[in-house]
């Protein structure tokens, strides 16, 4: 204990209403001197003097000061809570500790539980899901602008990128391959999108009863026989589909307008035609030289597909035994590429035809 310091501290006491002042007043009222209080509190006289002067910067941390004030208040018979409140009020703003109890709020950095982090994470997840969906659509879906036609052409295999996309004969393909195609589907093929389609031709086109097998075969043969041409696709149809040309005139002209308006350019393979015939169920994935899916999905027995797009084609056949490939009308042997039942190979029709 340094009596000099204590005396000096007592002399410098300011008359202000801090907790120290109240404690000092209470001590004096009980005729206790600083040393006696220090002994009873087991503190040094200097510490008690600093406490009475509210010089908290000279004392240990707030937890200790609160304890000293509480003990001192009890010693001199004062209620401790008002003094502690006065002490809290006297602390600088940044030194104030958060209120205790159930409403404690501790200032925290941005952690995983922060609202902003949660929101950003949610947005990221949502963005990721959207991207995956878009990617999937682009990968599995038909080329832009022709989606409507494809989906309407064969509702059972919506992800098939059939040649119907670019060939007006596709409208007939489902009729030959899948007779259960509905009239509405055909309607969608040719007249979806705001054109007023005449009713009768559609009925004629779509009714399976009115497309007997022979006629369908004839149509298919016509498809096979169609030579590559730069002309818009509606025109050769009108010429080749002989038996139904009367029915075709009106809708095809509108369909031509439709196709033109949609901006879809007819794709005609530059080489000899490649036709796939299926005798059983088979998974098929065919991409053209641009990497675009031309046929993707499972095809059934009796299905027949003519390849469009730029050769060479990358072909994957899941059940190769069920597929027959005709290049320029001649069977193509892909047995060297077989691995089990699966065949993976590249087919360039022009080379094969030569």
């Amino acid at each position: 204990m340094n009596p000099g310091v204590v005396e000096e501290a007592e002399q410098q006491l300011e008359h202000r209403e801090g907790p120290g002042h109240r404690l000092r007043t209470a001590r004096r009222a009980q005729n206790l001197d600083l040393a006696q209080v220090a002994v009873q509190l087991h503190l040094s006289s200097v510490t008690v003097a600093f406490l009475e002067q509210d010089r908290y910067d000279q004392l240990p941390g707030p937890v200790f000061v609160r304890g000293y004030i509480r003990n001192y208040a009890r010693l001199v018979g004062l209620a401790d809570e008002p003094l502690l409140q006065a002490y809290r009020d006297s602390l600088p703003e940044d030194g104030v500790e958060p209120a205790l109890g159930s409403t404690v709020r501790v200032k925290q950095g941005v952690g995983s539980s922060h609202l902003a982090v949660k929101l950003v994470t949610l947005l990221l997840i949502a963005g990721l899901v959207t991207l995956v969906v878009l990617w999937g659509k682009n990968r599995l879906g038909p080329p832009a602008g022709l989606e409507r036609q494809t989906s309407a052409a064969d509702p059972e295999t919506p992800y098939l990128v059939a040649e119907s996309a670019s060939d007006p004969l596709t409208g007939q393909e489902p009729a030959t391959g899948s007779p259960e195609t509905t009239p509405q589907a055909d309607h969608g093929v040719h007249f979806g999108g705001g054109f007023d389609a005449p009713e009768t031709p559609v009925a004629n086109l779509s009714s399976p009863e009115e497309l007997p097998g022979t006629e369908a075969d004839a149509v298919a043969a016509a498809v096979d026989g169609v030579e590559p041409t730069e002309q818009p696709r509606a025109e050769p149809d009108a010429n080749t589909a002989g038996p139904r040309s009367a029915d075709w005139v009106a809708p095809e002209s509108t369909a031509q307008a439709d196709v033109t308006s949609l901006g879809a350019v007819a794709e005609v393979p530059p080489g000899p035609p490649v036709v796939l015939e299926f005798s059983d169920r088979c998974w098929v994935n065919i991409r053209d030289a641009n990497g675009q899916n031309r046929v993707l999905g499972e095809l059934k027995a009796g299905d027949r597909r003519r390849l469009e797009g730029e050769p060479p084609f990358n072909i994957v056949l899941g059940n190769s035994e069920a597929v027959r490939i005709l290049v320029d009308g001649k069977p193509y042997d892909f047995s060297p590429y077989l691995r089990g039942k699966v065949a993976r190979f590249k087919l360039d029709p022009s080379r094969e035809a030569n």
Binding site: L41, H42, V63, G67, S102, R105, V106, Q108, G111
Partner: protein, 349 residues
Amino acid sequence: MLFRRIRGIFSNDLSIDLGTANTLIYSRGKGIVLNEPSVVAIRQNPSRGGAKSVAAVGLEAKQMLGRTPANITAIRPMKEGVIADFTVTEKMLQYFIHKVHESRMIRPSPRVLICVPCGSTQVERRAIKESAAGAGAREVYLIEEPMSAAIGAGLPVDEPRGSMVLDIGGGTSEVAIISLNGIVYANSVRIGGDKFDEAIINYVRRNYGTLIGESTAERIKQEIGSAYPGSEVKEIEVKGRNLAEGVPRSFTLNSNEILEAMQEPLSGIIGAVKIALEQTPPELGADVADRGIVITGGGALLRNVDRLLQEETGLPVILAEDPLTCVARGGGRALELIDERGGDLFSLE
């Protein structure tokens, strides 16, 4: 694992003071979100082949203690700071974790920090860790109670100065000297609030020939219990079963009697503190003598316990503010510090 992480985004980090008497949960950014007794009531259903189900947890279950019919058992799954019944502890933790996330649609999977007594064995720690993991925690950290209590009390644990903390819990009392974010010395004695209650029950049976229950003993302790003789003598009227007559009888106890009853457990705690002071390196001991000992835990609420310790050790003794929640709050702060400064800050497991 991935789902746990995603669920973790929607969960708050929790600090759990899995105490013998009470379980407190501190949620980051929210404060103390749960403070309930560590009691579970188990119902046995004879119609379903004696299958057990949880009837109540926490306060509701505590009210059932000693008042249950044959098919319900109210138990305290924690004894002396460690798990006594693993399955029930897991159920209790599961209930509490869900309770603090009750408004969430996604099942919570929080990061959890649990405070364990420094005297607990590796087996006991593993049991606590697995119990929390079983209750749905994504990651489980363990921190020693005295460290957590010191942080919660606001002690400058990161300074190169000795800070002494005494945490009197329900099952154990922990005393430790901390400096530079580490424990220099720690000791745990299996004496706590439960032992005080037990001492009161024994005293009443010995001196009054009357049997009282745990809840009554706890009420006596809370209302008139004192660790140091004061100027005021308090009285309480209690009822118990007279052992000679076999019928309930009413009698009056005063605070001096309770002080006498609790002498034994109190001496155990003082002994632990004195041993800690003896074992403390002199520089740190000097720091403690200069600034004082800080008491936390529910036992700090016992009247005049600070005065008793002050008189016994001759050192300043300070009661932490809101001592009951110090450990849980300190755990929460430790979690924040881990995020801010890395996991090596404290010796976590």
